[in-house]
C-alpha cells in the first residue's frame, strides 16, 4: 500500500488554503431560479424531497406515499421522489421548513395539515411561517365531519339535544384538533347553554371510538366516510345517531340531518366561516412561497392531471378518504379569508381558549 505523507510546510499551506476555499464556496450560494431556467423537462433526472408533517405510518404519510408515484407519472421528466419526516410541533416543524429553509426550486414539497393553519391563528410557540403565502398545489381530500351521539343517550336530533337535561360527553384529541372544531363552533353559537362536555386527551380517533363503544363517551365528531367504512353497522343499528353535518349542503346519505348553517343562529353565522378553511386544507400538498410561476404552473398542472386519473381517485378512496378535487385558488381563497378576518381569529381563540 502506497502511503501518503504531508510534510509540515504542506500542512501549513493546506490549513490556510482549505478554509479559504470553503469560505469562498460558502459565500457563493445559488442564484434564485427564474422562469428562464424552467424547461419542459426540468424534472428529468431530478429527485423531489417530499416533507411529511406526520409520523411514519400515519395518515399523512400513507397519503403522501400514495400521491408520489402519480406525481412522478404526470410531471414531465418523471422525477424520483424521496420522503423526509419533520413531525415536530404537530407539523409546525414541517411548516417552518417548507416556508423558510426549502429552496424555491420545486424540488421540495410538503404535506401539511389544517392544524398548521390553526397553530398560526392561535399564535403557538415556534410558528415561523405564513400559511397563506405558501404555494398551494391543489388538494384531493374532502372533509365531511358529522356530529354523532350514541343512540342510547336519548336524543334523535339537534332540537332534542338543545332540550337535553345533561350535555353529552364528546371525545377529541385536543381543543385545537380539527375534530373538535364542529362541536366548539356549535357551543360558541349557543353560549347560554352547555351543549357538550368535551373530553380531550385521546391519542387517535380509534381510541375515541372505543370509549364511545364502552359507553365512557356519548359521542364524537367524525368523518362520514370514516364511519361508513369502519362502522356502517353502528349507523344501520342506530348505535350512533347523526345530529349535525358541517358541510354547506346536506350529506346525500343523511338527507334528514341539518347542516351547521341551518342550526346556528343568524348572529353567530360568522363562526361557520372557520370551517371553510379546514374543509379545503385537509393535509394539503404545498411548495415553498415565491416559486417561479412556470414552475408552480407545472406542478399545479401535474396535480390537476392526477385529479383526473381514475386510478388515482380509486387509490385515495381505497385508503378510506373521500375524494374531491380542490383547486389551488379555492385553497388560497379559503385560507386568506380566514386569516384576514381578525374577528374570526379572536372568535376561534376564544372557543379554544375556553376549552383548553
Amino acid at each position: 500500500v502506497q502511503e501518503f505523507y504531508v510534510n509540515r510546510r504542506q500542512y501549513k499551506a493546506l490549513s490556510l488554503i482549505l478554509p479559504l476555499v470553503f469560505l469562498v464556496a460558502g459565500c457563493g450560494g445559488d442564484d434564485p431560479l427564474t422562469n428562464k431556467d424552467i424547461k419542459a423537462d426540468y424534472y428529468k433526472g431530478k429527485t423531489i424531497t417530499w416533507i411529511v408533517s406526520g409520523s411514519a405510518g400515519g395518515g399523512t404519510d400513507v397519503l403522501t406515499r400514495a400521491y408520489a408515484p402519480f406525481l412522478s407519472k404526470y410531471l414531465e421528466g418523471h422525477p424520483k421522489v424521496q420522503f423526509k419526516y419533520l413531525t415536530g410541533g404537530g407539523g409546525i416543524e414541517a411548516g417552518n421548513y417548507i416556508y423558510n429553509v426549502a429552496k424555491k426550486d420545486g424540488l421540495t414539497l410538503a404535506t401539511l395539515g389544517s392544524e398548521n393553519l390553526f397553530s398560526q391563528i392561535l399564535g403557538e410557540d415556534g410558528v415561523k411561517y405564513q400559511f397563506q403565502k405558501l404555494t398551494f398545489l391543489g388538494n384531493f381530500l374532502a372533509r365531511d365531519q358529522m356530529l354523532f351521539v350514541r343512540g342510547d343517550f336519548g336524543v334523535d336530533n339537534f332540537d332534542e339535544l338543545m332540550d337535553a337535561s345533561e350535555p353529552p360527553k364528546i371525545g377529541a384529541r385536543t381543543a385545537s384538533h380539527s375534530t373538535a372544531l364542529l362541536p366548539l363552533i356549535l357551543q360558541g353559537s349557543f353560549p347560554d347553554k352547555k351543549l357538550f362536555d368535551m373530553v380531550y386527551g385521546y391519542d387517535g380517533g380509534e381510541d375515541v371510538d372505543l370509549d364511545v363503544e364502552r359507553g365512557a363517551l356519548d359521542g364524537r365528531s367524525n368523518s362520514v366516510g370514516s364511519v361508513e367504512s369502519t362502522h356502517q353497522d353502528w349507523i344501520d343499528d342506530k348505535f350512533l345517531v347523526p345530529l349535525v353535518y358541517e358541510g354547506q349542503e346536506r350529506h346525500p346519505d343523511f338527507p334528514d340531518v341539518p347542516t351547521v348553517g341551518e342550526v346556528v343562529p343568524p348572529e353567530h353565522q360568522d363562526l361557520i366561516a372557520l370551517l371553510r378553511a379546514p374543509d379545503l386544507t385537509t393535509r394539503p400538498p404545498v411548495a415553498p412561497p415565491g416559486l417561479p410561476s412556470d414552475l408552480s404552473d407545472m406542478l399545479r398542472k401535474a396535480f390537476e392531471d392526477m385529479s383526473n386519473d381514475p386510478d388515482f381517485e380509486k387509490t385515495v378512496e381505497d385508503l378510506g378518504y373521500p375524494f374531491q378535487w380542490i383547486t389551488p385558488d379555492q385553497e388560497a381563497d379559503a385560507v386568506t379569508s380566514v386569516l384576514s378576518d381578525k374577528d374570526l381569529e379572536e372568535d376561534y381563540k376564544g372557543l379554544v381558549g375556553d376549552e383548553g
Binding site: 405510518g57 409546525i92 416543524e93 364502552r214 369502519t230 381505497d318
Partner: protein
C-alpha cells in the same frame, strides 16, 4: 373452524401468496437487523403495493414483515449488543453475555425456539379468543388501563438486585423524563426548550440506543474482548438451546400469556411485554443471581412474550378496527383498502382472511428462523472481529440509526444524552429496566389517568372490580418484593454473624 383454518393455510401456501410471504420475511428480517429501521418503515413502503393485491396476499405481505422483524432484532441483540428492535432490548441482558462466552448458538436457538413457541401460542389464543375478545376489550376501560400501566412498572421496578426502593425511584425518574413533549391533555408543549423536535417527546429509538447499546460498546472497549467468541459449535449449541426452551415450557406458556394480554392493550407492546416477562422470569427463577450474566430463563421469557403479543395485537385490530400499534394501524389501512372490514364480519364473511392471517403468523416465523439459521454462522464470524474494528463499526451503525430515527441531529444529541445516563447508571449499578419502562409508559399513564377522571370520575373509577383486582396485584408485588429482599438481607446477616 378447523376446516376454515386449513383453508386459510392453503390460501397462504398457494402461488403467488407464498411468494409475497417470502418477500415479506426477507424484508422483515432486513429491517429487523438494522437498528433504527423497524417494521413500520417497511410496511409503509410496501403498503401501496399490498393494497393492489388480492386481500389474502396483501395482508400476508404486511403481517409477514411485521412478525419477522422481531427475529432479525433478536440476532443483532445477541451478537452485537445493538437492539434491532425496541422489543429485543432485554435480549442484550442475557443473550449477549452468552455470546461473549462462546454460546451465541445456544442463545439464538433459545430465542428462536421461544419466539416460535410464543407466536404459536399467540396464534392459538387468537384462534380461540374470538368469542371472548369483544367483552374483554370493552371491559378494560381507562381506569383498568391506568392500573395495568402501574402494575407493569411495579413488576419491573422490582428488578433491582436487592434494592427495590432504588428501582421505584429510578422508575419515577423515567416518568419524569416522559413529561417532555406535548401535554396529552392540553396540547401545550412542556420542557421542550423551544426545540420543535421534542414536541412529540424524547425520540425513544435514539435514546434507547444510547441507553442500552452504548454502555455495551463502552464495556467492550474497556475489556478489549470481541463481541462474541469466534469458536462456537453451532450444531450442538442449537440442539441444546432447543432442549432448554422445551424444558422451560411452563415459563414459555406463562410469558406468552403475558404477551397476549399486553398485546391486547393499545399503546403497550413488545417493548413493555419483554420487561414484564423478564421480571416474571427472574421472580420465579431458582437462580435469579444469574440474570444479567447469561441466564437462559432471561432469554426465554421475553422472546416468547414478544412474539405472543402479535396474537394479542391482532385481536382488537381484526375484531374492533382498533389498532394496538402503528404497524396495526397500517394493517387496518390495508384491510379497509382491500374491502376487508374489521369487526364481526371477520368471523363470517372474511373468515378465510382471518385464518390466513393466523396461519401466516406461525409460517412466517418458521421461515424467518430458517433464513436466520442459515446465515447465523457468517454473522457470528462478523461479530467476532477484533475490538479495534468492531467498536468504530458499531458506533457508526448506532449513529446512523439514531440519526435516521428522526432524520435529524436531534436523534444524535439524544443518543449522547442516553449514553451518558446509561453509562452512568451502569457504573453506579443502578437498574436501567425500570427507568426505560417508566419512560415508555409515562405518556400512557398520564393519558389514562386524565381520561379516567374525565370519563368516569375518581369515585366511580376506584370501585370498579378490574381496578380493585389490579390494585391488589400491585400491592402484593410491592409487599413481596420488599419482604423478599428483607428476608435475603436477614439471611445474609445471619451467615455473616455465624462466620464471625
Amino acid at each position: 373452524m378447523c376446516g376454515a383454518l386449513l383453508s386459510g393455510l392453503a390460501d397462504v401456501l398457494a402461488w403467488p401468496t407464498c411468494g409475497y410471504l417470502l418477500l415479506g420475511c426477507v424484508v422483515g428480517l432486513i429491517v429487523g437487523i438494522l437498528p433504527g429501521l423497524g417494521p413500520v418503515f417497511a410496511i409503509t413502503i410496501f403498503l401501496p403495493i399490498a393494497i393492489q393485491l388480492d386481500p389474502v396476499s396483501g395482508l400476508v405481505l404486511i403481517v409477514s414483515i411485521w412478525t419477522v422483524a422481531q427475529i432479525g432484532g433478536e440476532v443483532t441483540s445477541v451478537l452485537f449488543a445493538v437492539p434491532g428492535e425496541l422489543s429485543t432490548v432485554t435480549t442484550i441482558l442475557d443473550g449477549h453475555p452468552l455470546a461473549r462466552q462462546g454460546k451465541a448458538g445456544l442463545a439464538l436457538a433459545v430465542n428462536f425456539t421461544s419466539n416460535l413457541m410464543g407466536v404459536t401460542f399467540g396464534a392459538v389464543i387468537l384462534f380461540l379468543a374470538v368469542p371472548i375478545a369483544r367483552p374483554l376489550i370493552l371491559h378494560l376501560g381507562n381506569p383498568e388501563l391506568f392500573m395495568c400501566v402501574l402494575v407493569g412498572v411495579t413488576f419491573v421496578g422490582s428488578l433491582t438486585g436487592g434494592r427495590p426502593l432504588l428501582g421505584y425511584a429510578v422508575a419515577a425518574f423515567g416518568f419524569l423524563l416522559a413529561l417532555v413533549g406535548t401535554s396529552v391533555i392540553s396540547g401545550a408543549p412542556r420542557y421542550t426548550f423551544g426545540v420543535l423536535g421534542l414536541w412529540e417527546g424524547i425520540p425513544l429509538i435514539s435514546f434507547a440506543l444510547g441507553f442500552f447499546a452504548i454502555p455495551e460498546v463502552y464495556r467492550m472497549y474497556v475489556d478489549g474482548n470481541p463481541l462474541t467468541a469466534s469458536r462456537v459449535n453451532i450444531g450442538a449449541d442449537f440442539k441444546e438451546g432447543i432442549v432448554e426452551s422445551l424444558r422451560h415450557w411452563r415459563l414459555v406458556l406463562a410469558c406468552s400469556g403475558i404477551g397476549v394480554v399486553i398485546g391486547l392493550i393499545p399503546g403497550l407492546g413488545g417493548s413493555v411485554s419483554q420487561w414484564v416477562s423478564y421480571s416474571y422470569a427472574k421472580r420465579r427463577s431458582k437462580h435469579p443471581e444469574q440474570f444479567g450474566h447469561g441466564a437462559i430463563e432471561g432469554l426465554i421469557g421475553p422472546s416468547a412474550s414478544c412474539t405472543a403479543k402479535d396474537g394479542g395485537h391482532l385481536l382488537p385490530t381484526l375484531f374492533f378496527g382498533i389498532p394496538a400499534s402503528v404497524s396495526m394501524a397500517l394493517l387496518l389501512t390495508a384491510m379497509l383498502a382491500l374491502d376487508v372490514t374489521p369487526g364481526p364480519k371477520m368471523v363470517t364473511e372474511h373468515l378465510d382472511v382471518t385464518m390466513a392471517i393466523i396461519s401466516v403468523l406461525v409460517i412466517s416465523c418458521i421461515l424467518g428462523i430458517i433464513i436466520m439459521t442459515l446465515s447465523v454462522k457468517k454473522l457470528i464470524h462478523l461479530a467476532s472481529m477484533p475490538t479495534a474494528y468492531m467498536v468504530p463499526f458499531l458506533l457508526a451503525l448506532i449513529l446512523i440509526a439514531a440519526y435516521s430515527a428522526r432524520d435529524s441531529m436531534l436523534g444524535v444529541t439524544l443518543l449522547i444524552v442516553g449514553s451518558v445516563i446509561g453509562v452512568t447508571m451502569e457504573i453506579l449499578g443502578w437498574p436501567r429496566a425500570p427507568f426505560i419502562l417508566a419512560f415508555v409508559l409515562g405518556p400512557l399513564a398520564e393519558r389514562y389517568l386524565f381520561l379516567t377522571e374525565q370519563t368516569y370520575g375518581w369515585s366511580a373509577a376506584a370501585v370498579r372490580p378490574g381496578v380493585l383486582i389490579l390494585f391488589v396485584i400491585m400491592a402484593s408485588v410491592i409487599f413481596w418484593t420488599i419482604r423478599g429482599e428483607r428476608g435475603h438481607k436477614n439471611a445474609d446477616d445471619t451467615v455473616l454473624a455465624s462466620e464471625r
